[in-house]
């Protein structure tokens, strides 16, 4: 056996970059770069959309043209050239996809690499998967089981065709076209995404899951997700993603809207692992996402997110607590390493009486990264006896990273109860030596300490997702100390 030298170690470090940074060869149908009214029309046409949808997109495009890219976030980056992006890319489509045999074998291989083979999912976990690959959904499973309960879970492009009344009523109702620069852009050019409707009184029997991936170089990805939980219904929705390695920056501007009607509950969990850029900070995904949910009376929305990827993250999953006694929750782990920058948090808008919100945010920074929590708790004048509890904890590794907290509190009703707690800690040499002495190497020790730090949030994730999230935390922070 030859000795393991420093050179071997160096080599290993260099190759141990983005584990999921592979690229899948799938023939793509792609638009030329640039954005104008014709492109917006062409996207709509490509999807055979009805007139109202085309008009809606065009209206959004007009609004977007008048808007300016926001620059208040605690991040610095080269602004994307919006005329140098292709706004539509679809995998070469096979006419019908009823079974897995009909799915492109290349695509199936990709899923195997990710450890999420559909066969396995189908057989073992009871998770229905609506896979979004390069903007267009190519495979939908478990549809029939869901259909028996009257649950609709399909690509949003299909929902526009099949359930126009629902889409028309709710799209843009929580995140209006005018909301912000990226939401307006998404409204104009969204390629595809998921649609989910849970009928009155129905408890969705399985976790609904979507795996997103960016695949084609140079294409922006504009997902649009709409989840509607009708009165007294319940759904748990999982969203996870990995992306292949890219040199140039990739723009991702998704919009997610959740609607929880009276007494309904939506649990929305995300594991986000977009390509974060290489160790010099080159490349990586720009993740500018607008996620918001609306709670009617007695409704509840929980956002749980594990964010390990992206070069730039700009994301604030929020709750509008419109109905009396409604509940909003936000549980977040945001990891930044190398040159990553994250500005993430939530907004809890208390409108109804006795509304309650909980915010637990765990930020972990390593390398030369910057990690900011930005959160707003707003209590409106009529929101009597509203309550909020916020806890923001930061864990630092090394001396070159930064953790920042920007809490905004606006209380316009005296009966409100608002608590905010914040801590900052550092992984210490003593902790690492203690673990080492017990036979736990430094990478594993960091994973253990980070998992302990993040436990309150990891516990909120559905079981199978929690395991994946733990693995991701481990991969993201490997080699970041010592």
């Amino acid at each position: 056996m030859s000795k393991y030298t420093e050179d071997d170690l160096k080599k290993e470090l260099e190759t141990k970059e983005y584990e999921y940074g592979f690229y899948t060869e799938i023939e793509a149908d792609k638009f030329p770069v640039g954005l104008n009214e014709d492109i917006v029309r062409a996207i709509s046409e490509k999807k055979n959309e009805p007139e109202w949808m085309t008009e809606w997109r065009l209206d959004a495009f007009k609004i977007w043209q008048e808007m300016k890219e926001p620059d208040w976030a605690n991040v610095t980056y080269q602004k994307p050239d919006f005329q140098n992006i292709s706004y539509y890319s679809a995998p070469k489509k096979k006419p019908e996809l009823e079974s897995l045999d009909q799915v492109d074998p290349e695509l199936l291989k990709t899923f195997e690499k990710l450890g999420i083979s559909i066969e396995e999912q189908k057989r073992l976990s009871g998770v229905a998967v609506d896979i979004v690959m390069d903007s267009v959904s190519v495979a939908t499973t478990f549809k029939e089981t869901l259909a028996e309960k009257g649950i609709i879970f399909c690509p949003i492009s299909e929902a526009i065709q099949e359930h126009p009344e629902l889409v028309k009523k709710y799209i843009g109702s929580v995140v209006p076209k005018t909301d912000n620069f990226y939401a307006a852009l998404n409204s104009a050019v969204f390629s595809d995404g998921s649609f989910c409707y849970i009928p009155k009184g129905v408890k969705c029997p399985m976790e609904l899951s979507t795996y997103f991936r960016i695949n084609e170089g140079g294409t922006g990805q504009f997902e649009r997700t709409l989840v509607i939980a009708d009165e007294s219904s319940y759904v748990s929705y999982l969203e996870g993603c990995t992306a292949p390695q890219r040199d140039e920056n990739q723009l991702h501007a998704a919009v997610v809207e959740l609607i929880a009607l009276d007494d309904a509950e939506i649990k929305y969990s995300t594991v986000q692992n977009w390509f974060p850029g290489d160790k010099e900070g080159k490349g990586g995904v720009f993740n500018f996402v607008t996620k918001r949910g609306l709670c009617e009376t007695n409704a509840k929305i929980s956002w749980t997110q594990v964010e390990t990827g992206s070069a730039i993250t700009w994301k604030y999953p929020s709750c509008i607590l419109k109905g009396n006694n409604s509940i909003g929750e936000f549980y977040s782990i945001a990891v930044t390493n190398n040159f990553q920058q994250a500005d993430t948090g939530t907004k809890m808008i208390h409108l109804g009486k006795n509304t309650k919100s909980t915010i637990i945010s765990k930020g972990i920074s390593a390398g030369k990264s910057q990690n900011s929590y930005r959160g707003l708790v707003q209590i409106s004048p009529r929101a009597k006896h509203a309550r909020n509890f916020s806890q923001c904890d930061s864990l630092l590794m090394g001396n070159e990273c930064g953790a920042h907290t920007f809490p905004y509190i606006e209380a316009k009703n005296k009966s409100a109860q608002i608590e905010h707690e914040a801590t900052t800690s550092k992984i210490g040499e003593d902790q690492l030596f203690y673990c080492n002495q017990r036979g736990i190497d430094t990478d594993k020790a960091i994973a253990l300490i980070v998992n302990g730090f993040s436990k309150e949030v990891l516990n909120k994730l559905p079981m199978e997702f929690a395991v994946e999230a733990q693995k991701l935390l481990e991969i993201s922070l490997e080699g970041s100390v010592g």
Partner: protein
């Protein structure tokens, strides 16, 4: 088992150990005593491989293998265990999860499969019982909010679980009341065998009433200035450290 030859070590250019010689055989219990600042804790840290210390001369050999190039976790995999004077807190990581990770990482390093969860649980329960540890204790975050006695008992629990070849107990008796001391000593005595060895590092003779050493060494200014049998500890207690200087 353990051979320390002419060991010199320093921290930040300050010499602490100035030529230590020590030989420990399987089945033996050695006590290293000495006043504050004599280098007792440095010796245990250096054996465990703490990187803050620099070994400037001499060698540490465990079962014929020079430890010089081995990282602390690799030394642990070879069977070295050190009970900390001040065990650290790891919030959110339970006593059970921590020991499970430690055992499985050590097994993996030694080419063994992970211990099946069922066996792990059995072992944890048996060990907890042996050391009179409450089940609830096992679900608490590691050392977080533990009393001094609980921390030390947890160290002994980990030692019992890991079954090291060489256990170094660094001031395990400090901060313990007499009942806790008895439990800890009891644990160590139960785990002693013909195949393993224990090095007790202590300031006071008190612990040695419960764990009787085969050899006692007195450390002063980075050197072992006197060695003897168990009776040496009593003599020290009576005459004080000035006697050996």
């Amino acid at each position: 088992m353990l051979e320390i030859k002419n060991l010199h070590a320093s921290i930040e250019d300050k010499d602490i150990l100035k030529g230590i010689n020590l030989s420990v055989k399987p089945g033996e219990v050695h006590a290293i005593m000495g006043p504050n600042g004599s280098g007792k804790s440095t010796l245990s840290s250096v054996i465990a491989g703490r990187e803050d210390y620099e070994v400037t001369k001499g060698e540490i050999v465990l079962n014929g293998e020079d430890l010089e190039d081995l990282a602390p976790d690799e030394r642990a995999h070879k069977g070295i265990f050190m009970s900390f004077q001040y065990p650290v807190e790891i919030p959110g990581v339970t006593v059970t999860n921590f020991i499970k990770t430690a055992i499985n990482e050590t097994r993996k390093a030694n080419g063994l499969e992970e211990l099946p969860a069922k066996d792990m649980l059995k072992k944890i329960r048996a060990t907890a019982e042996l050391l009179e540890i409450d089940r609830k204790f096992l679900s608490r975050s590691l050392n977080e909010g533990f009393s001094g006695g609980e921390k030390k008992r947890n160290e002994i629990f980990q030692m019992a679980m890991l079954e090291p070849k060489l256990a170094i107990l660094d001031e395990t008796d400090s901060g313990l009341d007499i009942d806790a001391l008895k439990v800890v000593a009891n644990g160590v005595n139960k785990l002693k065998s013909e195949d393993n060895a224990v090095v007790l590092i202590t300031h006071y003779q008190r612990l040695l009433e419960y764990i009787v050493p085969d050899y006692v060494h007195v450390l002063h200014d980075g050197k072992i200035v006197k060695s003897g049998g168990a009776e040496l500890a009593l003599e020290l207690e009576e005459k004080g450290y000035d006697w050996v200087k």
